[in-house]
């Protein structure tokens, strides 16, 4: 479904992503793991069209999307739930959801989808008119995920969805991601918490300083001695 071939991304003068190749099949749950600064976020940002790809190719469902404009990427069915939630702080919860459907034209269906999100996230319904910036971190993450779903994506990318959340919210977020995938949406997730990532996903790629150094099924990765030592605490 999504294929990256030798994708290179620069971040200022440094190489953030160095000839990364990876693939996500339809219906799969794939994770990118690795430490801070390994190039995981930059990879997602390059797919979304937020960072220029210096060399290499990105294709989605066979069509080239390398250096596509962000608005065209989302129209093709790729949603991005960014690191740090990035909800619009002074827009109301409802307006945030509406912004998620910005590229869609089907007004009635958008309204129905907003209702559906409120059914799914009752805490957001209670805060419909509240500015998103006044929500708790966990609620903001729910909103960020709901906003990404509002574009009706076929592939959804999560960037560190558990970062900075209280433990009970972390569990909720991971449950939600699993649910979304079970609903038929393909998932590509960046996660520093390798333990959780490898519990949930089908396949995983380990990135170090911009390179894919290891890849395999979740089980293979969990059992790999290097990963156990460096990322799973022995």
């Amino acid at each position: 479904m999504l294929k990256l071939e030798d994708v290179t991304v620069h971040y200022g003068a440094t190489v953030a992503v160095d000839k990364v190749s990876l693939q996500v099949e339809e219906g799969e749950f794939v994770t990118l793991i690795g430490s801070n600064g390994a190039g995981k976020s930059s990879t997602l940002r390059a797919i979304s069209g937020l960072e220029p790809v210096v060399s290499g190719r990105i294709t989605f469902e066979g069509a080239p999307i390398t250096n596509g404009k962000p608005q065209h990427i989302i129209e093709r069915g790729i949603a991005h739930c960014p690191e740090g939630r990035r909800v619009f702080p002074h827009l109301s919860v409802r307006e945030n959801l509406e912004m998620g459907a910005y590229r869609r034209k089907d007004r009635q269906a958008i309204r129905d989808d907003v209702e559906r999100m409120f059914d799914r996230f009752p805490r957001l319904r209670e805060r419909t008119a509240q500015p998103a910036g006044t929500l708790s971190g966990g609620e903001q993450q729910m909103l960020a995920i709901a906003r990404a779903l509002m574009s009706r994506p076929r592939l959804i990318m999560f960037d560190e969805p558990s970062l900075g959340l209280a433990p009970n919210f972390v569990e909720q977020v991971f449950e939600l991601v699993t649910e979304i995938r079970a609903g038929g949406t393909t998932v590509l997730m960046v996660e520093q918490n390798a333990y959780a990532a490898l519990e949930l996903c089908d396949r995983s790629y380990l990135l170090e300083t911009g390179n894919v150094v290891l890849q395999g099924s979740a089980q293979e990765m969990r059992e790999n001695p290097d990963i156990r030592k460096a990322y799973l605490g022995g």
Binding site: S48, K69, I74, F88, P89, M99, Y102
Partner: protein
């Protein structure tokens, strides 16, 4: 008492046009982070368009205001598309130099085209003031006030109620997140600059029969627009509207009760005091658009 009420009426009329001028500038700064030194020149542009249409081509004043607004919209879009789009908005120095350059070019173009002699745009209204309970108000100024209030409301509705306004506010609050949900940030910038420029041009055209039209009018308009925007808090739209009325009140009451000669100086003195005491602006709660 009559004198006091007269000052209030004058401040409201002047304030409504200051508010129009200020919100255009604050919108551009708030969303694009561009300090638009040419804002006053767009105001002058509107006034000259009105002069050309009314005095030279014999069009009526109302039509000239409408056309000035439309031409301001187009000119603003062209400036964004031809100049600003080509540079990184993060390079504040570069953008400032470009805007200062544009200001100089526009001002000299006015001088070249129309000469240095001030022009008068005839008003379509009666010259005699309306008198209500000892307060005088010329019909022209009454019209300017009404038109400005209508435009302020229209602007508010665009920002707060329309899909475009929602995208503008979202872009201001988080540019990357706006891109992620599919906002074409480039066209939002073009529309923002166009809308801000349109507001300035309309203000200039509206006021053309009230003041005289001269190539230096843009300078003072720019200065005042900045004063208004600083009073209200940079990027704060309701703040800029209130700032417009506040500056007008300071000028009006200052010149009425202290000295007419120091009218403009008093306004700027107030800005200095605000910058020392409340640098975030009089009405700023948080930095935001809308």
């Amino acid at each position: 008492m009559d004198q006091f009420l007269q000052h209030i009426v004058n401040a409201l009329v002047l304030g409504s046009t200051y508010a129009l001028l200020g919100i255009g500038l604050t919108l551009i700064f708030g969303i694009m982070r561009v300090v638009n030194f040419a804002h006053g020149e767009l105001y002058a542009f509107g006034a000259y368009v009105s002069y050309a249409l009314v005095s030279l081509l014999g069009l009526n004043y109302f039509g000239s205001v409408l056309l000035a607004g439309m031409l301001g919209l187009l000119l603003g879009a062209a400036i964004e598309f031809l100049l600003l789009r080509r540079c990184k908005l993060e390079n504040i120095d570069e953008v400032m130099l470009i805007m200062i350059g544009l200001m100089i070019i526009m001002q000299n173009a006015e001088l070249l085209l129309w000469g240095g002699v001030a022009k008068v745009v005839p008003t379509p209204f009666a010259q005699e003031s309306i008198t209500i309970g000892g307060i005088y108000l010329s019909p022209t100024r009454l019209f300017v006030f009404c038109a400005a209030v209508v435009l302020l409301i229209a602007f508010y509705l665009i920002i707060e109620r329309s899909r475009l306004g929602l995208a503008m506010r979202a872009t201001f609050q988080d540019r990357d997140a706006a891109k992620i949900v599919g906002v074409n940030v480039g066209s939002i910038y073009t529309l923002t600059f166009a809308l801000g420029s349109c507001m300035a041009a309309v203000t200039g055209a509206l006021l053309a029969p009230v003041f005289v039209v001269a190539p230096t009018m843009g300078d003072l308009a720019s200065l005042k627009a900045f004063a208004i925007v600083i009073l209200g808090g940079l990027g704060n739209i309701p703040g800029a509207a209130l700032g417009g009325f506040a500056l007008a009140a300071i000028e009006e009451f200052g010149s009425g009760y202290i000295s007419t000669a120091y009218r403009d100086a008093l306004g700027f003195l107030a800005i200095l005091i605000v910058m020392v005491i409340r640098p975030q602006g009089l009405f700023a709660i948080k930095e935001r658009v809308g």
